[in-house]
Subunit: 335 residues, 2 copies
Amino acid sequence: MTDVAPTQSPDRTADAAIEIGLNAAIVGVRAYQPQILVVRDGTDADWDALPYGPFSPQDHRTFEIGLRRWVQQQTGLELGFVDQLYTFGDRGRHAQPGDTGAHVVSVGYLALAPHGAEPDLADAAWSRWYAYLPWEDWRDGEPEVLTTEIEPRLRRWAAQPLRPTEPARPLKRDERLRICFGFDGGGWDEEKVLERYELLYESGLVAEAKRDEREAADAWTDLPALGRPMQFDHRRVLATAMGRLRAKVKYRPVVFELVPEAFTLFQLQMTVEAIMGSHLHKQNFRRLVENAGLVEATGDMTAETGGRPAKLFRFRREVLLERPAPGVRVKAGRA
Amino acid sequence: MTDVAPTQSPDRTADAAIEIGLNAAIVGVRAYQPQILVVRDGTDADWDALPYGPFSPQDHRTFEIGLRRWVQQQTGLELGFVDQLYTFGDRGRHAQPGDTGAHVVSVGYLALAPHGAEPDLADAAWSRWYAYLPWEDWRDGEPEVLTTEIEPRLRRWAAQPLRPTEPARPLKRDERLRICFGFDGGGWDEEKVLERYELLYESGLVAEAKRDEREAADAWTDLPALGRPMQFDHRRVLATAMGRLRAKVKYRPVVFELVPEAFTLFQLQMTVEAIMGSHLHKQNFRRLVENAGLVEATGDMTAETGGRPAKLFRFRREVLLERPAPGVRVKAGRA
DNA sequence: TCAAAAGTGTTATCCTTACACCCATGT
DNA sequence: ACATGGGTGTAAGGATAACACTTTTGA
């Protein structure tokens, strides 16, 4: 075991250049549409990219401090909640035609921009996150792209024989479709965003699969417009971020960073719906957040929402001391 | 924004050596005691270390493949469930007296060793994980170390004024104690393993804090034996792994990797209790796993458990297709 | 006979889900 | 008048937690 002894220098890392970068999926909500901060620099077929920053250990003590710093410096945004998502180290994830083979490890982060915050930057801008993953927005019913494009193509893919190079999996293709996309009465789980994206990638239905010259891509289907693609594996990072945020909303009071200081319950509900991508039962939502102790009335009212004037509420901080995992425990899917 | 444009080479990473390593918290259960695979190489005051392997991009396509490979080669263990935990990049985390300042980023993993698997290796061995985090085992009631050592010292720490260099936090020290350790009727949340370890580190009560020469350490208290320390930040990785596994058990059928192919419900329960560190209500546990559809009777019986012979069960794979998040949804804390 | 573990049955309570219905405002 | 959102009440059903009690084995 001398080879894995921790005091040994891991010298095998020296024979290839390794770079470490930070990728941030910065999320805000404007007009009840979740937005993601993207960079458009005109290269790479105009595909958008997530903000990318180098990690420089001598400047910043931790990843998170470094991330907050460069986001602040480059965009003026003061981030709220920040959460490490995943570290992506796949060989060739930054591979480009004619590349030298330098290997980049990137640490993906989810970050929330406080309500109302605007980036002051020319080539970075908010962009609707459902533009990249349109099958995730069920607020106007089942997304059309799912029934017209995704379902028939995925069913064809499931009917195809496995490629010989394909690794053995515990589940068959059609079982995976049932679990991830809810085909055949499987039910839609709004948290499985990453699993869905990866299945679309694996089946070659997503533009990035063709770009990466995967065996499956384009061999058996022409590519429809399944969401706007992104550079590198940034759409995978975005999918990870969306899944994580949807899960987190249920047991941490993170929504309140995406909402003004004072809000009506309906505004709060629409913000949650924007994130979850589905509608919630109004009365149950109100009871839920109220007797979970998440909010308290400010005493003020507002008439700006149309209809009867509404009470304004604020986040009730004391809930952090009262419950181990305070959050909006919604079961998505109601109307 | 040119500085953060993704197509630019992140050249600021070049001016310090960066190494990437993989750290694995490999968990098995023997005789209803969770075990962790540790390396003892005699250096560094005989502190144990987690198995550590270099990441070599040209040998392995992904982190996980690389991890499985070197664990297999070095220990003969064929890992089951593998989950990325967190990427630790703190400056100085590998700092040693007289160090050159090389910076190591380590990607921490949780891995499960299938039931019965034994490492065939001289200087790596199973070691009880509660030896490192003894306050996490409530199976014999509240751990003594909590009442005799931890609680009084943490209360003294909470009463001390904040150090001037300390960053502002949303919660006061005594509020954090209530949340993490359940003081003053806060209740014990078995998933907050990492939060508890980090609080002990921050308050200087853990040997690693003194080693790292934190300001707080030893300035106001002498160190008791608060669990066995580990090299580098490996105990933090272990705490992360324990918290993650405790959470995961509830919504993924991971326990079944730690249990023989056929098992009695009581054996399953004791395995879950070993992980959660607390006792469960027997009848409710049985009903829970049975009508969650997690198990099915094999038809056989065993008399080896003492007492009345018990039915043997096996994991019911079909549950993966039936429920979005199948797991042992226990609420810990019952007797 | 007793201890230990396997099982069965029941009850009270809470939470979720789903309906039904009324209130206040702007157009 | 009516559309829109605000707000209250309640009833059915299911899941959970906590008890009590019987059965079958080995020592």
